[in-house]
Amino acid sequence: MAGIEVTALHKRYPDGTVAVDHVDLSIGDGELFVMLGPSGCGKTTTLRAIAGLERQTTGDIRIGDTLVNDLPPAERDIAMVFQFYALYPHLRTRDNLAFPLRAEGLPKAEVRERVDEAARLMRLGPLLDRRPHRLSGGEQQRVALARALVRRPRAFLMDEPLTNLDAELRADMRTEIKHLQGELGTTMVYVTHDQVEAMSLGHRIAILNKGRVEQIGTPLEVYDRPASLFCAAFIGSPPMNLIEVEVADGKLRSQGGLVLPPPPSLPRDRRLVAGVRPEALEVTEPGAERSAPGRVVSAEWLGDEVIAVVDHGGRRDVRVRMPPTVRFAAGAPVGLRHTGGPPPVYDVSTEELVA
């Protein structure tokens, strides 16, 4: 087991595409580290560079204490699970699992022992004699995971391993992966573009955008204080309301009259945007205390909650998360009130968190 250290990683493909611009990561030993970002932001490329399948243009990668820049994938002692599971189609499950071990030249008895152990961990017993094309997607996924485990590598790399599964199975596998990682205590780098997956799995999350790291933090940090407007708009469903505000009388005030508590040490003379989570707002009777006047444009009843879209005279409509018991008619005049603590505030021009 080992931590992974990525320093100033830069990858430019031969056709000129800069897939990774500048990435620094410091992944602890035994950590479940998630890389999250939109399609094309360079997640796979970063992961493949760590695996040694792609040579970075510049930058260093260390696994444990070893500088692995010039080591071939085989010598890095890591296992990778691909989005498309890449089980060898001409081999039965048993042999798929045994292959990496045979490559190491382990004695037969030990190979069998380790295969059985991995099969037990991933509950593959009845599937051992089937070929991949006779396995369901979820089963293939479990075999792929088992194949990663048999070798007892120093780290696991996972590239969107659950994307091809349906929602229910995905939730199950998520729990399973998290449990397994905790059990084994092996470092894991998990790539996804699904924020729910990232939030529920990761000890820490790195948010990538256009080949750069926008923020690294625990799921809570990332949710509560997104480090940039990009992160603010990316995390959460629906995402934060980005409301243009001005500082007046020691408060943050929006165009539509919404009043927010100010964070300490706000810079002066800049155009500011406050990031307000939908659950930090509430819809009230029109004219209620500390509320700004607004109008419900539409509402989505989701069963366990209601997302109301409210026009409060600002540039953009805001989304408000309410318990499913509230009742209001679309188009009705309402009040809009902020309930939480000081929201994160961003500078419009730099798009970064200022307070």
């Binding site: 040694g52 990778m80 001409h90």
Partner: protein
Amino acid sequence: MAVSVDEAASTDPVRDHTPPARRLRGRGRGRSVLEVALLTVLAVVMLFPVLWMIETSIKENRDVYAVPAKFFDFKVTMGHFKDVFVAPGGGRSALSVAFLNSVVVAGVSTALATVLGVPAAWAYSRFAVKAKKDQLFFILSTRFMPPVVVVIPIFLMYRQVGLIDTKLGLILIYAAFNVPFTIWMMKGFVDEVPAEYEDAAMLDGYTRLQAFRRFTLPLLLPGIAATAVFALIFSWNEFVFAIFLTSSDSVRTAPPAIAGLIGGTTVDWGLVAAASVVFALPVLVFAYLVRKHLVAGVTLGAVRR
């Protein structure tokens, strides 16, 4: 050879899992009757020369020349086939030597083209090669010219280096024609095999070449078989280079040898037909044996992932 390509196409519907009954109903009965009629006519027109060739090869000489032609009531003889392999005075005939030459030339040139073309196709598919498109176009462009156009310069070059009238000369030129074909066909097949297999194998501890040999290559076998059959058929049937570049009986391949039977004052049509049947047979049998691979090869792209 058109027949072998038809072979591939005609087995194709076997893969179509729609029950025939439902397909017929879906299209309407009237239309299916018309289809059958048209296909029958087409089959008769296409197959008549082949049938006539087979018939002629087993007819007595007098029946061959009979006017009006005899379709059914003729005496069957295997004499012509014996003449193909055995010389009139005993011993091996010139034709049988020519067939052996064809086997050697077609086999070796196909093997050569496959051994060179498959790794090249893999490299073009997997790696970032400079000006890849231009290189591939250049490779393909060597196939633009029909053999007749290049045969004179090739002849002159071969005379300089002493490859005229040698089997090696034919093998090299056929391989040269088949390598571009193999690269293009196989690149398509390699593209269809996800690169992740090799990535996974490399992470499992194999080198890139081992990963190719142990994981990608087995998946390519149907494609290689299909490609090799086409290359084999090209080399087996090739006539222009064969007739220009070789002359002696000990080197000549079957196509010019059979053509050489025609042109004297009298033509032994029975012998010509028998030789043609023998010539067509191996390709048909081979295509039949690998027909599953041919279909798999042709449809590989449709069933992946």
